[in-house]
Amino acid sequence: MNISALIALFVFPGLLFAIPAGWLCVWAEHKAVARMQRRIGPPVLQPFWDFVKLVGKHTPARAGFEANLLRLYPALSVLSLLGALAMLPVFPANGQGFSGDGILMVALLEVPSICFILAGFTSGSLFGEVGAVREAVLSVANNLVFLLAMVTLAVTQSTFRMTELAGARLNPGHWIAVIGILLCIPAKLRLNPFSTSSAEQEIYAGPLTEYAGAALGLWQMAHGLEWLALTGLVATLLMPLGLPWWAAAVLFIAISAAEVLLLSVVSAATARLTLERSINFYWRWAAVLAVLAIASTVCMRFHA
């Protein structure tokens, strides 16, 4: 049994670190928006209190098999995100992971989005279905850029192993790919300006409209973990190599926090785009960047 893999899964950056840190990300977003509106904003423990309160709610029993499915989706989202977090190469020198773990991580990062879509359709709510369709379309739109960026990283290093992907620095394709991933994060987190799928005041809570109690709390937890996993992915790709483990951990947290702040500011400063404009952004503008990244990387390989 590999001890460092277990520590990654349960301690850092997994379970023990990830759940409070995920809540902290959600809080930081709300706080940043509040400060931009000259408000005081929520206390640090707000996401924790929200979760505890939701666990204590009496939820109405739902009949049929879909009741089980609706309970399964948020749990699956949380578990797959914890798995993805455990694969982040925060300490590349440890040599954790296995060849091709980058592919598994991309797949695990996609599970919450798929669960979100399925939850919308399974709930039978009209608002849920509208939200699910929007999420599905947006997912196709941003994943083109996201996957091209991940493939670019893989081409620069000729591998899908995360520890080695985090090692590439000299190639300009690496930096363009990181910018591409950063551009996809607001859509993956359903933040403004790409928040059509969970548009409050428009389709209520989107796919989560019918959710209540502990299951809703798990969805909120999954959202926090999603914050952490996606900002953490960019952080590991930006971190300098050859740091001692404590410096790597501190830097990982610092870069993630800076990203959370950046995304919150963008989210507070922008309005919601329509679905068509969101697709236009990814397929017409961000895709150009992604194609440029992969083309330059492939050309450089041939040149070398």
């Binding site: 709300h30 509040a34 509106q37 000259r38 408000r39 005081i40 904003g41 929520p42 206390p43 423990l45 707000q46 209190w49 929200d50 505890v52 309160k53 666990v55 204590g56 709610k57 009496h58 939820t59 109405p60 409050e200 005041q201 209520y204 809570a205 989560l208 409209t209 019918e210 959710y211 209540a212 109690g213 809703l216």
Partner: protein
């Protein structure tokens, strides 16, 4: 178990989801309700947030004298809010039907149809009064949740 119960009780006063419902109000109270949620009053620092779905809410804020058209909707929305829950009646209309009393299209007052926990008087009430009403309702809700848990423990 005592510690967990106290934690739950505290969480219920620290995290409050509102669902706002208009039952034929003149919009005066609704405007004050929206003002309450604006950055000036910053209710988010008290853990109060507006929810889109009654399923996510803890406190139902009702404005208006309950017209016959909205009566069924009020009952349905009240049933959709999960226990423990509380109801806040905003303004004079849900309390007494106000100037609409005696009209054939009015089915109010609200307390005839669903239990009301806190009345916030005024035509319309001031946002500060609304915040106080919500805070009182949250305290009632926390007590009620604790009672319910104790009841269930006895039954088991």
């Amino acid at each position: 178990m005592k510690v967990l119960e106290r934690l739950m009780q505290k969480a219920r006063t620290k995290s409050i989801g509102l669902f706002h419902m208009n039952t034929g109000s003149c919009n005066g109270c609704d405007i004050e309700m929206v003002t309450t949620l604006s950055p000036r009053y910053d209710v988010e620092q008290l853990g109060i947030h507006l929810e889109g779905s009654p399923r996510h809410a803890d406190i139902l804020c009702i404005t208006g004298p309950v017209t016959r058209n909205t009566l069924e909707a009020v009952k349905q929305v009240y049933a959709q809010v999960c226990e423990p829950k509380a109801v806040v009646a905003l303004g004079s209309c849900p309390a007494s039907c106000n100037v609409f009393a005696g009209s054939p299209v009015i089915a109010g007052p609200l307390s005839k149809h669903i239990p009301v926990d806190v009345y916030v008087p005024g035509c319309p009430p001031h946002p500060d009064a609304i915040i106080e009403g919500i805070a009182r309702a949250a305290a009632i809700l926390a007590e009620r949740g604790a009672d319910k848990q104790a009841e269930e423990a006895v039954q088991q």
